[in-house]
Amino acid sequence: MTVSRREALGALAAAGLLGAGCRAPLPFGREAAFPAERVGDDEFERLLACFGYGARPGEAAQARELGAEAWFEGQLAAPDDEPLPLLARLLRLDVMHLSPWELRDWPEAAVLAQLQQATLLRAVESPWQLRERTVEFWNDHFNVYARKGLGAYRKPLDERLVARSHTFGHFPALLRASARSAAMLVYLDQQASQARHPNENYARELLELHTLGVDGGYTQRDVMEVARCFTGWTEERGFLKAKGAFKFDPALHDDGEKVVLGERIPAGGGVKDGERVLDIVSRHPATARHVSGKLCGFFLGDSAPRATAAVEMAFLDTGGSVKAMLQALFATGAWRDGAPVAKRPFDYAVSAVRALDGHTDGGRPLQDHLAAMGQAPHQWPMPDGYPIETEAWTGTLLARWNFALDLTRGGIGGTQVEVDRLERRGLTTEGLAGPTHSRLIESGTTSAEERWALALASPAFQWR
């Protein structure tokens, strides 16, 4: 008899061996415990759960035919456009093509709803799952809170020009796009920064969160100098102007000499000062380390340390090619045999619809459930993005269970799953809940809808 991956993991965990030596210290009082039941023991289930939002029935088998590497490379080579039916639905959403200044007469709630709708539609329906996953990562990395200062109007353009234009591109280009995004600049108060007394908010988060990392070797003095460099980087405002477009205002700029991370930036540089800063931090080795660590944490959870060195090397070798970093991450195989990763609510909800081969219009009823679970897209107030730590999400289980119940009984308007059809196709709850809990669920006398809800509510389905 072969020992399954789950049993092997369990034994290792019990012996305290798993990840020894390479794991960040666990919080006080916590041991490395993994779920007793585990879904996706199949390599290809795991492939789709790590680099996408889980497999629809049958998709793992298709990936198996293709081979893991071919599947992955195919995902990296995604065409710009979505398949026609999905594209048609997306193009009906005005946020997909309008700019902030064109959206201005709309109610904020409607813009925010469409923004979330586009995100959900693509996550559930797009065949280009790795792109959606990676966009989610960049949206967290360059987090903008859509409820601050009318950010909802600016965020659609921000996502188009930043996370979606450079999903698998080069980090320096991503960073430059983000630094010229009105959504980001206003979110971090850059419009209120001027030579007389610069505002440090954007400068600090640029160094701490977007590039070097808090241990990246910068000082408070560097933050203040970077803030001086970015004075004048703001958004277009005023009557008949394209409000929400990037603008450099020389009148607000501090044109004196600056020194950033030991490099002298001569006086009189104007808008070039900020660009120079972006160059300096883009090629700083601390940025390679920080961004690689975050990327690995997002995809691999506790197993991230197995991949960070390789991914960091890829960043340094290629000048920050995201594609190369993802290829390096894939090549470590940590997605195949690493520790389970707890699903965040967005991942949980999307993977639930997909696991039941369901479809959604991404409308408000589904958005309301995500809000109740604590992860409505684009609504994390702090600049660090939604957390990835398991501890942060353990309070969301009741909302997840109620979501699962509502989903299978057809109570979420615009979102459909057909559990009868799943059963006619011979599918069982075992693939979601694991064998023991599946037997328990099937032993009850609940309805088919409740059986599938319980499978989604099981401990195993909270992990990938």
């Binding site: 920064s193 505002n199 908010n201 604590g374 702090m382 353990t394 328990l440």
Partner: protein, 429 residues
């Protein structure tokens, strides 16, 4: 399909266990999950033993501007550094300077938006600590919050896990189902590593939307397993059971208390509610978001004023609502850092160091401002011009723990920290 009410009907009455539930219980499904609350209540914290002391920790996320919360109006440099943001001296009725500060001790004044708390101060139930903080110098929200929530000196030192979790784990005896609760969307780091602690955004609509058999099956699925999600599932089911009879939305605050209609107000109302359920609640973590006032923070109008009014109104309503039980309740208000002494060009303030803390309620020797005042001019000399920290925040928290909570060596809660006396808490009664 007819949906059974799992725990309660619309009136909050407990439904008789259905046939299936009885069968399940007879089949040995974990602990019977209907009506279990009363057993806990009577066994652990019945009226004979009384409810334990309650500590409510409010974290103002974003870095609250301590200099405009507890205003050093008599420091001659205050109005020089804050020409457009300075809160006017008490009694200053000039037009255009906004509401004046409320005098505390002839040197400091309370932000007028905190007026609901002034009686607490005047009557000796609120203490103020000024120029307090951690030794963190990153000026990063996340690092500074993490340092404080772990109970560490600064972000690069200290143990993993939260300081409140360390207290809870050091004193765990298995007697109470819900010792700690956090009302937030994600769990705070201060409770990281705690058992019998639950994070919940709101108790309104805190019920499972299914029949009794589904509840029983969930309980069996989550009965075993030591991973974080499974443990959290057990705690969630415990709370569902415990609250089966209760109706948090229908509960009327006592003493005519009127909570602000805000996330913080609702959270305080729910703390008062949970504290009365006989679950052994000792610690509640609340948070208020949005204190990162880089821009347009306003003098006595604007959003900082709104946040302070929300804070003051919520705390005051909570103490009123607790009524006689306020005698077992202590509230601590803290933030990850204060803000830069000098205002910026956007009529806001950037990240700083020393800030202010408020401690209210049981055991507090109030009516005083604690901590050594470092002076604005002296603080400003050191780049980048932040209020110096003269009181370690752990000294304040150590004193609160030692005087209010179960007996525990404070060195176990704040490892490596030798607490210096601040004097704001009366000794253990």
């Amino acid at each position: 399909m007819k949906r059974e009410a799992w725990f309660c009907d619309g009136n909050g009455k407990l439904e008789a266990p259905g046939r299936r539930a009885v069968v399940l219980a007879a089949a040995g499904a974990a602990v019977g999950w209907l009506g279990a609350r009363s057993a806990w209540a009577q066994a652990a914290f019945g009226e004979s033993k009384g409810d334990p002391p309650l500590l409510v920790v409010v974290f103002l996320r974003g870095g609250a501007d301590g200099l405009n919360v507890v205003v050093p109006y008599a420091d001659e440099d205050y109005y020089r550094f804050r020409p457009s943001l300075g809160i006017a001296r008490p009694g200053d009725r000039r037009v255009g300077v906004g509401q004046p500060a409320l005098d505390l001790d002839g040197f400091f004044g309370l932000n007028p938006a905190l007026a609901p708390l002034l009686p607490e101060y005047k009557e000796g139930r609120m203490a103020v600590v000024q120029a307090v903080g951690s030794r963190d110098t990153t000026r990063s929200h996340f690092e500074a919050m993490s340092a404080m929530e772990r109970g560490a000196r600064d972000s690069s030192s200290g143990d993993q896990g939260g300081w409140l979790a360390r207290y809870l784990n050091a004193t765990e005896d298995g007697s109470a189902p819900l010792r700690a609760v956090s009302f937030s969307s994600v769990a705070p780091e201060s409770l990281g590593g705690a058992t019998h602690a639950l994070t919940v955004e709101s108790l309104d609509r805190y019920s499972l939307d299914a029949g009794s058999e589904v509840g029983g099956l969930l309980e069996r699925m989550y009965a075993q397993g030591d991973d974080l999600m499974t443990r959290a599932g057990r705690e969630t089911l415990s709370l569902l059971k415990a609250l089966a009879k209760a109706d948090p939305q229908g509960a009327r605050p006592e003493g005519g208390a009127s909570y602000p209609d805000s996330p913080l107000g609702r959270a305080f109302r729910q703390v008062a509610f949970v504290a009365r359920q006989g679950l052994g609640l000792e610690v509640a973590c609340l948070e208020s978001m949005g204190w990162d006032s880089h821009v347009a923070q306003g003098r006595t109008e604007g959003w900082l004023t709104e946040l302070l009014a929300d804070l003051g109104g919520s705390v005051a309503a909570f103490l009123t609502d607790m009524g006689r039980e306020a005698a077992r309740t202590t509230v601590v208000v803290m933030s990850e850092f204060g803000r830069r002494i000098e205002e910026n060009a956007g009529f806001g303030t950037d990240h700083g160091s020393g800030g202010a803390m408020l401690v209210l309620g049981a055991g507090v020797t109030g009516g005083r401002v604690y901590g050594r005042w470092p002076g604005l001019a002296a603080s400003f000399k050191r780049e980048p011009g932040d209020l110096l920290v003269t009181t370690d925040y752990r000294d304040v928290l150590s004193e609160v723990v030692a005087s209010r909570l179960r007996p525990v060596e404070t060195g176990r809660v704040f490892p490596g920290h030798l607490a210096a006396p601040v004097g704001l808490m009366a000794g253990r009664s």
